[in-house]
């Protein structure tokens, strides 16, 4: 399913984060969104996910205007991993992950066997298999982050939008999460869009990038063309050093002054 926006403007009253943004996230693609803190990554992601109305322009999901989709129907096709969830949840990890099945659930009481299977599979894929009965509140920060990823996997939408999916994860689980997400994008009809901070993951797993420059301008296109030191210095407003080559390129700040 294609998620596209035309002439999108995103921001708050008196502050424009992004203007005239047009892009098309097609099945099979993995997009990375990079930008400074406060440059509007989350706001753009929420607008693409239908969680807030755009200031101008429109978002289309498949053949439909996203704003016209019924909430449940939208949630079956499009899932958003939020950056944080302040809410304490009283139940177990398994119950939490099962909530991802809410938009698919047809029964008022309990879950169907298929829902339970999907939740279990999602827990396994996020390396949480042995913890299903634990109360969510007793898990560590990284385990909880994987629980949220597992919930999104259980929700099983064609279009996944993820806000900092790798936060709190250790190196191994960062790698495993990225492999799962990349694998998701390669399934037929699906796409994955990630807000990231580490250019290594963008270079290694993303075929497209959206760079938010913070002044309302944005660059969107293929990673091979956009992932250059010059562009990233405009994004992060500091001098950068390039390391590695090909799909393992990454950039780290040098000692130079901010630009």
């Amino acid at each position: 399913m294609i998620l596209e926006c035309r002439e999108l403007a995103v921001g708050f009253p008196g502050r424009s984060l992004c203007r005239g943004l047009s892009l098309e996230i097609s099945p099979g693609e993995c997009w990375g969104i990079l930008g400074l803190n406060g440059s509007g990554k989350t706001t753009v992601l929420h607008t693409l996910g239908g969680l807030r109305p755009p200031q101008a322009g429109a978002v289309r999901l498949g053949a439909r205007d996203l704003a016209q989709c019924a909430p449940r129907e939208r949630a079956r096709a499009l899932g958003v991993l939020l950056q944080d969830e302040p809410q304490a949840f009283w139940g177990s990890l398994q119950e939490y992950v099962l909530m991802g099945r809410h938009p698919h659930s047809r029964s008022l009481f309990g879950w169907e066997a298929a829902d339970l299977e999907r939740a279990e599979a999602a827990l396994e894929r996020m390396d949480l298999g042995g913890l299903a009965e634990r109360p969510l509140g007793t898990l560590s920060g990284g385990e909880r982050q994987r629980a949220r990823l597992a919930q999104l996997l259980a929700q099983d939408p064609a279009v996944c939008l993820l806000d900092e999916p790798l936060q709190h994860l250790d190196l191994r689980h960062q790698m495993e999460a990225m492999q799962v997400l990349r694998g998701l994008a390669e399934q037929p009809g699906r796409s994955v869009t990630l807000v990231l901070h580490d250019t290594l993951w963008a270079s290694r797993f993303c075929d497209h990038l959206l760079l938010l420059l913070g002044d309302g301008e944005a660059l969107a296109g293929a990673t091979d063309e956009l992932l250059t030191r010059e562009n990233l210095e405009r994004v992060f407003r500091c001098r950068l050093q390039e390391y590695g080559s090909g799909r393992a390129r990454h950039f780290l700040p040098g000692d130079g002054p901010r630009v």
């Binding site: 909430p71 949630a75 958003v80 809410q87 139940g91 119950e95 991802g100 309990g110 109360p135 929700q155």
Partner: protein
């Protein structure tokens, strides 16, 4: 404990509390005579005691407790605040002001009931109008608005009590503390209870998702704003019905949902029906105690719910996870 077993135990508890309430009272009736009166036989006096005094009283107590427990559970998820109880948004304050005003004006029992209903509805409408914004309903604004209105009503109640003639104050106080001795017919409250219980079951899975926060609930396909407004009005209706029956009976609405959570029931599909059974049974039991332990003196049941509820919750707290 498996959840179906817990529900069965709670249903048993509710039935037992009803039975106790029917068996005990100032007239000493043996169980077989109570049963005969229930079946429509026995002496006329016994039938009157059981069918016209004890049964309506027990039914009123159960409906009142069940409504308060359900309203508490609903408001806790709406306000995302575990301390929310049915009175936090000022409904009881509004009802108290309305009823006291009617008492002061000498409008009689019917007028007092009407005044309480008008006061409660006025507060429900006022809090909603002041806090609701289309497109975004900030629950903290709702909570603060309710708390402020509630405080205002509290001040008005104090003012009315000061103005009231000394002879009338005691009757008013009983009403404020919560007392089922003056409860009218519980039929309307049972109707509301049945409607809310069914509605609650229909929306329970959405309530589970909403407990993760409104934004998260939207990502999972819940139409958050209509659901929040629905919870608000459902909880208000439940609270108002309970307050009209028994005044401001504290603690049931806070205690019942938390006691169940501490027992491991966190899923609203189980929590709402369990809260109905626990809240109803608990208040029936407390009311039976209130009218028998110091007989012929009748204690206000609101005092008993707190006296019984505080140690119960403190006992359960260390078991919480």
């Amino acid at each position: 404990m498996p959840r179906p077993l817990l529900i069965a135990l709670l249903a048993l508890f509710a039935l037992a509390s009803m039975a106790l309430s029917l068996l005990h009272g100032s007239a000493d009736l043996p169980a077989e005579r109570v049963l005969r009166a229930l079946a429509g036989g026995g002496e006329a006096v016994e039938r009157d005691i059981v069918l016209r005094l004890r049964l309506p009283r027990a039914a009123a107590a159960f409906a009142c407790g069940a409504l308060l427990a359900q309203a508490g559970a609903l408001l806790q998820v709406l306000l995302r605040n575990p301390l929310a109880d049915p009175y936090v948004l000022g409904i009881s304050g509004g009802a108290a002001v309305g009823s006291l005003l009617s008492m002061l004006l000498g409008l009689g029992a019917v007028g007092t009931g009407a005044g309480a209903l008008a006061g409660a509805l006025a507060v429900v409408a006022l809090v909603f109008a002041l806090s609701f914004r289309a497109g975004d309903w900030n629950v903290y604004r709702l909570l603060l608005t309710g708390v402020v209105i509630s405080a205002g009503c509290g001040a008005l109640v104090s003012l009315l009590l000061t103005l009231a003639p000394a002879a009338g104050v005691k009757g008013m106080l009983f009403w404020l503390m919560g007392d089922l001795a003056y409860a009218g017919s519980p039929l309307a409250a049972w109707g509301v209870l049945a409607a809310l219980a069914l509605l609650g079951l229909g929306f329970a899975s959405s309530l589970n998702v909403l407990s993760l926060g409104p934004l998260k609930a939207r990502t999972l396909g819940v139409a958050v704003l209509p659901l929040q407004a629905g919870i608000y009005f459902a909880a208000s209706l439940g609270t108002a019905s309970a307050v009209l029956l028994g005044g401001t009976i504290g603690f049931v609405g806070l205690l019942a949902p938390h006691a169940l959570r501490l027992l491991g029931i966190t899923d609203y599909r189980w929590l709402l029906p369990s809260a109905v059974l626990l809240g109803g049974g608990f208040l029936t039991l407390a009311d039976t105690a209130a009218r028998t332990i110091w007989a012929p003196l009748q204690l206000p049941v609101g005092v008993l719910t707190a006296l019984l509820g505080v140690p119960l919750l403190l006992l359960l707290l260390p078991r919480g996870r």
